[in-house]
C-alpha cells in the first residue's frame, strides 16, 4: 500500500472546530487534515464526537466555531447538497436509505437516468443499479424495496450508492458495523482501489483490526478533544497504540479470552426441526430449514454465519416474534410455543435485537422508560402504579455496572451515543433476569472499551447460570466469548465445536462453503 504522498496538497483541513449541543460539548477544538489518495481513520470511544465531526463536514449541521477549508477554499456547507456538489460523499452511521423505495431508486436518488422525452428510464435505472450493487457483492434484485432488506444488505446498498457517486472525499461512518468478514474484505479492497484513484477517504470503525489494516493515518478523539494522530510508518499501526490513545491509558489485551468457566449445566432450551414460513411482509427473510440446537445453562453459545444465514430468524423464531411452520422448542424440558414476544418473555427468554434504531429504542422517550419497558411488572405495585424509586435505583445500579454515560435518566435516549444506547438496551434485559438471553449483534457500533465490558457482562451472566446465545458477525468476538460455537448457512446449522477448539479458518469453512446464495433452490422449495 502506498503511503501518503506528503507533497500532494491538503484536500480538506479542519482547524479548531468546536460543537456544543445545549450544554454538551461534543467537539472541542479539533483539527485534522486529509490529502487526496489517503485513508484517514477517525477513531475514538462511543460518544467521542466522531459522527458529530463527520456530520459537520457533510453539511448536516454547522460547527459552533472553527474553520474548515476544502481544496484551499473556505468551506461552510449549509446542507448536504452543498457537500455533494463539491464531491464530498457520506455514508452515515444511521442508515439513510428510503425504506419504501426500491434499491435502484435509492441508488439513483435525485439523479434518476433520464430517457429521450426527459422522463425517467426505469429500465436503465434497473440495469445500472444491478451493476453498481454487484461491485459490493450484492446480487439482489434492484427492484426490491429497501424495507425488505436485512441491515447488512442495507449497509451494502448504502456503500454501493456512495461509491457510484463522483467523489473526491468519501466519509464513511461505521460502514462495516453490520457486515461479516467477506463483505468487509471486499470493502477494504474497494477502498484500496479508490485510494489509488486519488480519492480521499475518512473512515470510522470500532473494529480496530480493520482500521489498522487499511488506514494510512489515524486521528483519535477522546471526549470530544483531539487525543493525537498516528501514522503508518512502514507497517500497520499497532492496536495497543490506538487503544492507548483512545482510552488514555495503556491497553490491556483487546479480546481477552475470559478464563474458562466451569462446564455448563443442563440443557435449558432445546430446539428441534425448526422451520419458518416465508413471511409476505418480509419476503427476503431467510427461511429456517430444520434447525436443531441446544442451549445449556451457564454457557455462552456463539452463533456464526454470513450475512443472510438465518441467525436473526432463528433468534426471532425462538422469541415468538416470527411465525413457526414446524418444529418444537422446549424450555426446561417443557414444550413451549411462544406466539408472541410477550409469551417468550413471560417464559424467561430475552432478545436484544440487531436493529437498535427500529426494533429496540424508543427514540423520543427518556432513558428511564427505555430501560424499564420490558419489566413494567417488576417495577410496579399491585395496583399498576409504577414504583419509580425502585426503578431509578435499579437503573442507577446498571448505569454503574455497565458504565453507561448519560447526562441524566430524564434525557431522551436519542441523545446518547450508539454504544451507550446499546448498553441501556442490555440493561433492559438484565433487569428481567432471564433464563435465556439471546443477543443479536450485541456490540454493533460499540467501542473497544465498552465491547470488552459487554463481553464481561455476558460472561458474568453465564456464570450466574443464564443461558446466553450470542449472534455476532465479528468472528474475533465469537471466538473470544463463546463456550461453544455453531455455524449457520442458508437457514441450517452447518457445524458445532467447543469455543476452545475453534479458530477463524475452521469457522469460515463451515459458514461459507459457497458464495452468498441464500435463496437457492432448496430454500425456495421449502417456502412453498
Amino acid at each position: 500500500m502506498s503511503s501518503t504522498d506528503a507533497a500532494s496538497p491538503v484536500l480538506l483541513a479542519v482547524e479548531g472546530v468546536t460543537k456544543h449541543f445545549s450544554g454538551v460539548t461534543a467537539l472541542s477544538d479539533v483539527s485534522l487534515d486529509i490529502r487526496p489518495g489517503e485513508i484517514l481513520g477517525l477513531l475514538g470511544e462511543n460518544g467521542a464526537g466522531k459522527s458529530t465531526l463527520l456530520k459537520i463536514l457533510s453539511g448536516v449541521m454547522p460547527p459552533s466555531s472553527g474553520h474548515i477549508t476544502f481544496d484551499g477554499a473556505d468551506y461552510h456547507p449549509s446542507s448536504p447538497q452543498d457537500a455533494k456538489r463539491l464531491g464530498i460523499v457520506t455514508i452515515y452511521q444511521e442508515l439513510s436509505l428510503i425504506p419504501t423505495l426500491t434499491v435502484a431508486e435509492n441508488i439513483f436518488i435525485g439523479r434518476a437516468p433520464i430517457g429521450p422525452l426527459g422522463l425517467v428510464s426505469w429500465r436503465r435505472m434497473e440495469e445500472d443499479s444491478r451493476a453498481i450493487i454487484a461491485r459490493v457483492g450484492l446480487s439482489i434484485d434492484p427492484m426490491t424495496p429497501v424495507s425488505a432488506l436485512s441491515v447488512a444488505e442495507q449497509q451494502l446498498v448504502e456503500i454501493a450508492r456512495a461509491l457510484s457517486l463522483k467523489s473526491r472525499l468519501i466519509i464513511m461512518d461505521e460502514p462495516t458495523s453490520a457486515l461479516t468478514e467477506t463483505e468487509v474484505q471486499r470493502l477494504l479492497s474497494i477502498m484500496d482501489r479508490l485510494r489509488r484513484d486519488k480519492v480521499a477517504i475518512m473512515f470510522v470503525t470500532h473494529r480496530l483490526e480493520e482500521a489498522s489494516a487499511i488506514c494510512d493515518r489515524m486521528t483519535v478523539l477522546r471526549d470530544g478533544r483531539l487525543a493525537g494522530h498516528l501514522d503508518r510508518q512502514g507497517g500497520p499501526i499497532a492496536l495497543p497504540k490506538i487503544i492507548e490513545k483512545m482510552v488514555g491509558r495503556a491497553a490491556s489485551e483487546l479480546y481477552a479470552r475470559p478464563a474458562q468457566r466451569a462446564v455448563a449445566g443442563d440443557v435449558v432450551l432445546s430446539v428441534r426441526g425448526l422451520r419458518t414460513v416465508r413471511d409476505p411482509e418480509a419476503p427476503h427473510a431467510i427461511v429456517l430449514d430444520g434447525v436443531d440446537i441446544d442451549l445449556k445453562a451457564g454457557e455462552i453459545l456463539g452463533v456464526a454465519g454470513l450475512v443472510g444465514s438465518g441467525r436473526t430468524e432463528l433468534a426471532r423464531a425462538i422469541f415468538g416474534a416470527d411465525r413457526i411452520a414446524a418444529g418444537t422448542i422446549t424450555l426446561d424440558g417443557q414444550p413451549i410455543a411462544p406466539a408472541s414476544p410477550a409469551d417468550a418473555i413471560a417464559l424467561g427468554i430475552g432478545l436484544v435485537p440487531e436493529d437498535r434504531k427500529h426494533q429496540a429504542i424508543f427514540a423520543a422517550l427518556g432513558i428511564l422508560p427505555n430501560f424499564s419497558v420490558a419489566s413494567l411488572g417488576t417495577f410496579s405495585n399491585g395496583f399498576g402504579f409504577m414504583a419509580e424509586r425502585r426503578e431509578r435505583d435499579a437503573l442507577a445500579g446498571f448505569r454503574k455496572m455497565l458504565s453507561i454515560r448519560m447526562a441524566s435518566v430524564e434525557q431522551a435516549i436519542e441523545g446518547l451515543s450508539g454504544g451507550n444506547q446499546q448498553k441501556v438496551i442490555l440493561a433492559r434485559w438484565l433487569a428481567r433476569d432471564p433464563k435465556v438471553l439471546i443477543v443479536d449483534e450485541p456490540t454493533r457500533g460499540v467501542d473497544v472499551g465498552a465491547k470488552t465490558e459487554v463481553h464481561q457482562i455476558l460472561v458474568q451472566l453465564a456464570a450466574r447460570g443464564i443461558a446466553v446465545m450470542m449472534i455476532s458477525s465479528e468472528l474475533p468476538e465469537v471466538l473470544a466469548v463463546s463456550d461453544r460455537i455453531v455455524t449457520m448457512r442458508r437457514g441450517r446449522i452447518t457445524g458445532e465445536m467447543p469455543g476452545i477448539e475453534a479458530n477463524e479458518e475452521k469457522l469460515m469453512e463451515l459458514m461459507a462453503l459457497d458464495k452468498r446464495d441464500t435463496r437457492g433452490p432448496d430454500a425456495k422449495e421449502q417456502a412453498r
Binding site: 449541543f21 445545549s22 450544554g23 454538551v24 460539548t25 460518544g47 471526549d223 470530544g224 422469541f319 416474534a321 408472541s340 414476544p341 410477550a342 417468550a344 418473555i345 413471560a346 432478545l351 435485537p353 427500529h358 426494533q359 429496540a360 429504542i361 424508543f362 427514540a363 423520543a364 422517550l365 422508560p369 424499564s372 419497558v373 420490558a374 413494567l376 411488572g377 417495577f379 410496579s380 399498576g384 402504579f385 409504577m386 419509580e388 454515560r405 447526562a407 441524566s408 430524564e410 434525557q411 431522551a412 441523545g415 433492559r428
Partner: protein, 338 residues
C-alpha cells in the same frame, strides 16, 4: 463530556421541561390578558365558569383523544359517536324513542339518569372497542376505520331518532349538565376529575408507560413484551368511554339529545390535543397540555364572541391563532434544544 457539562445538561433539561408545558400556557395567559383589556367583564367569575363549562364537553373527549394520539392513532368518529351515545342515553333515560316534549317531564317512564349514564359510556366504550379491533385485526389504519365510524355512527343515530331530537329529561339527570357545586358548574368538575385521573394513569401507572412506549415505537414495544394490540384497542375504548360521558353531560346540559350533535367535534378535539403539545406521531404529550389546549380554544371562542366579533372574522382569527400557538410552542422548544 465534562462534569460541568453534565450538570449544565441537567439544568437545560429542566428548563426545557418547564417551557414545554409553559409554551401553550404562556399563549393562553396572553390571550386572557388581551381579552380582559378589551373588556374587563371577561374575567368575571361567571364568564370564566361559563368557559370551563363550555370546554368540558370537548375537553372530556380530548382526554381520551390524548391516549389515542399518544399511540400515533387518531379518532375521527368522536363527534358522531357522541351523538350516538347521547341518543342511546336519551332512549334509556326516557324508556323509548318517543319524544316527551314537555320540558318538565318527571321521567317516570324511563330508567333514570344512572342507567342513562351507564348506557352512554358502555355503548361508547364498546363502539370504540369495535373500532380498535378493526384497526388491529383488519390492519386498517385508524384514520380510515374512524372515518368510516364517523359516517356509520351518524347514520345509526339518525336511524334511532329518525332525524329528530329526543328531549326532556328529569331534574336529576339535568343536574349533571346545569348543576353547580358551590360556584362551580358540575360539567367542569367532571372534566377536572377526569383530567386528574387521566394524568395519574398516564404519568404514574404501568399502563400509561405502555401507551407511551407503543406510540414511541410499536415494533420495539412488541419486542419488549408489550401486548401492543391490546393496548391499541384499549385507547379506542377509552376515547369511546369519554365520548359517551361527554354525550351524557351534553344531553343533560341541553335537556335534549340531538341527531346533529357533535358535528365537527373531531377537529376541535384534535386541535386541543395538538395545541397542548402532543405529537401526532405518538409517544410525546401530556394530559396537562391537552387541558391547556382545550382552555385555549375555549377562551378564544368565548373572547371573540364576548367582543361580538363577526363570525366571519372569528373563523379567520381562530384559524390563525391555532397555527400561531403551535408555532410559538415549536419555537420555544427549539430555543432550548434537547
Amino acid at each position: 463530556m465534562s462534569v460541568a457539562g453534565e450538570q449544565n445538561q441537567r439544568g437545560g433539561i429542566n428548563i426545557t421541561r418547564l417551557l414545554m408545558s409553559f409554551g401553550p400556557l404562556l399563549f393562553l395567559a396572553a390571550l386572557v390578558v388581551v381579552f380582559t383589556v378589551l373588556k374587563t367583564s371577561f374575567i368575571d367569575p361567571i364568564n370564566l365558569f361559563n368557559i370551563t363549562r363550555q370546554i368540558s364537553i370537548t375537553g372530556l373527549i380530548a382526554l381520551g383523544m390524548t391516549f389515542v394520539i399518544l399511540t400515533a392513532g387518531i379518532d375521527l368518529s368522536v363527534g358522531s359517536l357522541l351523538a350516538f351515545c347521547g341518543m342511546v342515553a336519551a332512549v334509556v333515560a326516557k324508556g323509548g324513542t318517543a319524544n316527551t316534549l314537555s320540558l318538565s317531564t318527571s321521567g317516570t317512564q324511563g330508567y333514570g339518569w344512572f342507567a342513562a349514564l351507564l348506557a352512554a359510556v358502555v355503548v361508547g366504550a364498546a363502539a370504540g372497542g369495535v373500532q380498535g379491533l378493526a384497526i388491529t385485526r383488519l390492519k386498517v389504519p385508524p384514520f380510515v376505520v374512524t372515518l368510516g365510524g364517523l359516517t356509520v355512527f351518524r347514520g345509526l343515530t339518525l336511524t334511532i331518532s329518525n332525524g329528530g331530537p329526543i328531549s326532556g329529561f328529569d331534574a336529576s339527570m339535568r343536574w349533571f349538565g346545569t348543576g353547580l357545586i358551590g360556584p362551580v358548574p358540575v360539567p367542569a368538575l367532571i372534566f377536572a376529575a377526569a383530567a386528574f385521573l387521566c394524568h395519574i394513569v398516564l404519568r404514574y401507572t404501568r399502563y400509561g408507560r405502555a401507551v407511551y412506549a407503543v406510540g414511541g415505537n410499536a415494533e420495539a414495544a412488541r419486542l419488549s413484551g408489550l401486548r401492543v394490540d391490546r393496548i391499541l384497542v384499549s385507547v379506542y375504548v377509552i376515547v369511546g368511554f369519554f365520548a359517551g360521558l361527554a354525550a351524557f353531560v351534553l344531553s343533560a346540559r341541553l335537556n335534549s339529545s340531538e341527531a346533529v350533535a357533535g358535528i365537527g367535534y373531531e377537529l376541535t378535539v384534535i386541535s386541543a390535543v395538538v395545541i397542548g403539545g402532543t405529537s401526532l406521531f405518538g409517544g410525546i404529550g401530556s394530559v396537562g397540555g391537552t387541558v391547556v389546549g382545550a382552555a385555549l380554544i375555549g377562551v378564544l371562542q368565548n373572547g371573540l364572541q364576548f367582543n361580538n366579533v363577526s363570525s366571519y372574522t372569528q373563523s379567520i382569527v381562530i384559524g390563525l391563532i391555532l397555527i400561531l400557538a403551535v408555532a410559538f410552542d415549536r419555537w420555544l422548544k427549539s430555543r432550548v434544544r434537547r
